[in-house]
């Protein structure tokens, strides 16, 4: 199973980035806590609009099951939900700690977006 974490850097020791669509990197790990892939999200960082939707698409294409992030807007949430990706929002700290928290069952999944749409 793949878990995605929004990150400010490329390693498991990087601090998380609270933004979903516009985080510089999205780290993909497995449920053993090992790093599988680092997605460079630069294209979405600079997108005018629709960054969250495109980020959701790239997670869906990789078969991600769980997303750990800070904020998730309505369009991104709809897209993630359609892809069957569970969203653990309001997460912060270092990537591997968030991953650890999730693996220990400490993350509750969101029922809806926790950020406003960007205009």
């Amino acid at each position: 199973m793949k878990i995605a974490i929004t990150s400010s850097g490329k390693s498991l020791d990087s601090p998380m980035d609270p933004r979903f669509g516009r985080a510089p990197y999205i780290i993909i790990a497995n449920d053993a806590g090992e790093l599988l892939e680092v997605i460079d999200n630069a294209a979405n960082v600079n997108a005018m609009r629709g960054a969250g939707i495109q980020a959701a698409k790239s997670l869906a294409d990789r078969g991600v099951s769980v997303l750990l992030t800070g904020h998730c807007g309505p369009n991104a949430f709809t897209a993630l939900q359609s892809a069957g990706i569970k969203v653990g929002s309001d997460q912060s700290g270092v990537v591997k700690d968030a991953l650890e928290k999730y693996r220990n069952g400490g993350v509750n999944f969101a029922n809806g977006p926790n950020a406003e749409a960007h205009w």
Binding site: A56, A60, A83
Partner: protein, 289 residues
């Protein structure tokens, strides 16, 4: 002849100049209020509105019983308005710019059009001046297609005066595009100069000649004049601060209604603009050596 009136900074007197210019030209003129978010030529002109037409944008509607989840629609969309994800194709109508690419590319013909209301275009007249204005639906983010609908009513037999929104972004560019001349209205303050520079820089790549009207020309500093000299922007009209004009404006009256002696000045402004445009088209037609 198409003359756009733009500014950069808000509140410099674009609408004052546009309405008085059109009204001074009388039956030769048509005024098009392209500031669709806050159209207010009508406040100064009180035109009779004869017709109103709703303007819509065609956004995609997906029939999931036909969709094969190929994702071509999402690949062509530049605005993330449609996306195949998981076992479905989602649409985000408020993101759609209405290009229709997804509908064209869908191999299963699963996408049909559904209209999103952008606003309305109203047409009428003020005395002999033809009047057109766009009015965006509150909550709608996309002004350019509505501005295009306003410009579709442009009468080629008239001198069209297009009142642009303030700023230097898409709605301004969409308004001035295709014009023969842009009149930039500004005021002699650091704010007026700052925003004028931005607007000039934004419009310059379109290759449309520009000139400046300086409103409240005797307040503030001399920097706008200096800039106009450096940037080779002709200073076409100066309107000194006048309490009578300000009072008239505050009661919703046009400048030429409170100060009729300005009619001649606005006709002069138009003649200067047309001379400028004519001269430019002549030099353009000369064979290049």
């Amino acid at each position: 002849m198409k003359i756009a009136v733009a500014s950069g900074k808000g509140g410099t007197g674009k609408t004052t100049v546009a309405t008085s210019l059109a009204a001074s030209l009388g039956r030769r003129a048509q005024i098009l209020d392209c500031d669709v978010e806050e159209p207010n030529c009508h406040i100064l002109m009180s035109p009779e509105i004869e017709s109103s037409e709703a303007i819509t944008l065609s956004t995609p509607l997906v029939d999931m019983s036909k969709c094969n989840l190929c994702g071509k629609c999402g690949e062509v969309c530049n605005f993330s308005a449609i996306l195949t994800i998981g076992k479905t194709t989602l649409t985000f109508p408020e993101m759609c710019h209405g290009c229709g690419g997804c509908m064209l590319l869908c191999p299963e013909k699963a996408i049909s059009e559904t209209p999103r209301e952008l606003g309305a275009v109203e047409t009428g007249s003020f005395e002999d001046v033809e009047f057109v204005q766009g009015r965006i639906r509150i909550g709608e983010a996309m002004a350019p297609p509505l501005i295009k609908a306003v410009k579709n009513r442009l009468n080629p037999n008239k001198i069209a005066i297009l009142d642009a929104p303030p700023g230097a972004s898409c709605p301004v560019i969409n308004t001035v595009k295709g014009s023969d001349f842009v009149i930039m209205v500004t005021e002699p303050t650091p704010f007026g100069l700052h925003d004028l520079r931005i607007a000039v820089e934004a419009i310059e790549p379109l290759g449309i000649p520009m000139g400046v009207v300086l409103n409240r020309s005797d307040i503030g500093d001399h920097e706008v004049q200096t800039y106009c000299g450096e940037a080779r922007l002709p200073l076409m009209l100066q309107i000194p601060f006048d309490r009578q004009i300000a009072e008239g404006y505050s009661r919703g009256k046009m400048l030429i209604q409170t100060n009729p002696d300005y009619v001649e000045k606005f006709i002069g402004l138009f003649e200067d603009v047309s001379r400028f445009v004519r001269k430019r088209s002549e030099t353009k037609q000369e064979p290049q050596s």
